[in-house]
């Protein structure tokens, strides 16, 4: 291995500069920055109100927003210092993705890092890519963690594992739809062995979850434009397969061999 490292280190790496492109991109970025700023400009007719507006904004920032950012940072620090959360970060490769404050508590959502997956398209003559993933990795991908931090007591009040079925549960009609979609797909019949049996049907956890305020409660919700999906787990001859179905589009989006029983 040392020889390989030496070999890689010895190979000359390309160092190429593109001054025109650099300048063109900079110009583009600065224009974009100005566009983003302009969105916050108030129309000229409202200019008289601007006299008192900055003072009002400063007051709002001072009372609401800065303390909010401070509390969020503090909550994150408390959460990350908790040994169980540290263990979960280490084992499941999760990171904080959303935070909401409510009633002196901070709700922190930790989700696994997105990992590359081969997305397959199953449509008539299109090729199918199979990804062989270990069972442990697949299970890890479907979990997130909700930590609730008590900001007054400065401790982690609770840690809860989030599972897909809790956020986007499947109805019996949806389960039936999954089976129908899979049965119609001829290409699957060529790939999956004839001896397969269904182990279970469960909802697919959305890639990104978020925290949503509903009244006085903080709930976990899928993204706003989420398309519901379901996973059907098959087993056969000592192997396990997973097929993921998009319930809205009524099509198969993924096929995985997920290791041995």
């Amino acid at each position: 291995m040392e020889e390989l490292k030496k070999k890689i280190n010895q190979i000359k790496k390309p160092e190429i500069e593109l001054p025109y492109f650099k300048a063109a991109l900079k110009g583009r970025l600065l224009k974009e920055h100005q566009k983003m700023e302009k969105r916050f400009l108030i129309a000229p007719l409202l200019k008289p109100a601007l006299v008192s507006l900055p003072i009002l904004i400063i007051l709002i920032l001072g009372v609401l927003i800065l303390p909010q950012q401070f509390m969020e940072a503090r909550a994150l620090k408390i959460a990350k210092a908790h040994p169980e959360i540290q263990k979960l970060i280490q084992e499941y490769n999760i990171r904080p993705t959303d935070i909401k404050l409510q009633d002196q508590k901070a709700y922190l959502l930790f989700m696994p890092e997105e990992t590359p997956e081969n997305i397959l398209e199953v449509e008539n003559q299109k090729r199918m890519l199979l990804e062989i993933a270990s069972e442990k990795e697949t299970l890890k991908k479907s979990e997130g963690v909700l930590a609730i931090v008590d900001l007054q007591r400065k401790n982690v009040a609770s840690i809860k594992t989030i599972r897909g079925r809790e956020v986007v549960p499947l109805t019996s009609q949806e389960e039936q739809l999954v089976k129908e979609v899979v049965e119609k797909e001829e290409v699957l019949k060529e790939i999956l062995p004839p001896t397969i049996t269904i182990e279970k049907i469960e909802p697919a956890l959305p890639e990104k979850l978020r925290l949503e305020k509903k009244g006085t409660e903080i709930q976990i919700a899928p993204p706003k434009n989420f398309e519901k999906r379901a996973k059907i787990l098959y087993k056969s001859d000592g192997k396990r397969w997973m097929v993921e179905v998009n319930l809205q589009k009524k099509k198969i989006e993924k096929l995985q061999l997920i290791g041995n029983q």
């Binding site: 291995m1 390989l4 490292k5 890689i8 280190n9 190979i11 000359k12 790496k13 390309p14 160092e15 190429i16 500069e17 593109l18 001054p19 025109y20 492109f21 650099k22 063109a24 991109l25 900079k26 583009r28 970025l29 600065l30 974009e32 920055h33 100005q34 983003m36 700023e37 950012q69 969020e72 940072a73 994150l76 970060i89 280490q90 490769n93 990171r95 904080p96 935070i99 890092e113 990992t115 590359p116 997956e117 081969n118 997305i119």
Partner: protein, 190 residues
Amino acid sequence: MSGEFERDLVKRAKKDPETFGLIYDKYYQPIFGYILRRTANVALAEDLTAQTFLKALKNLWRFRWQNVTISAWLYRIATNEVNSYYRKKKGFKNVSLEEAKNLKSDINVLEEIQKAEEELQKEKDFLLLHKKIAKLKPKYQTVIALRFFEKKKVSEIAQILGKPEGTIKAQIHRALRQLKKLLEENETKN
């Protein structure tokens, strides 16, 4: 840059285009170089670099509380863009493709790309190595590139990718093992 200074710079960059311009000037070459060494394609590296900085600009507001350095944050965005490209591969769609096309409408930029591609094709040893590395999973390509091309320490790579150092060391080891196998297969064929 100290943490305090960086936090202040990012805060100012949100409102002041010139300050954002300073961040861009400082990190453009390292990020472009990293993407180029990941993709071995000048035109593609330009597109992905443009996307990286556009995303950085659009996500500047959330930079602070994730508690990473600007460099690590930009490398992370760049890594995600490159890995996303390798995952989708077949003509990737992205928000800024239009912007990337606009940038290339300048004749100087086009000539520059052509000359740069010619320069790149001279780096035969690197291109051979890159061909093998490109066969690895994106996560292994990432750690190899960051460790050996960008000369990042394990702790820096851990910060860029937001993963524990132990995981990074294990990934580097596995990546090298797979790469060694690919290179040995190549030698056997020759």
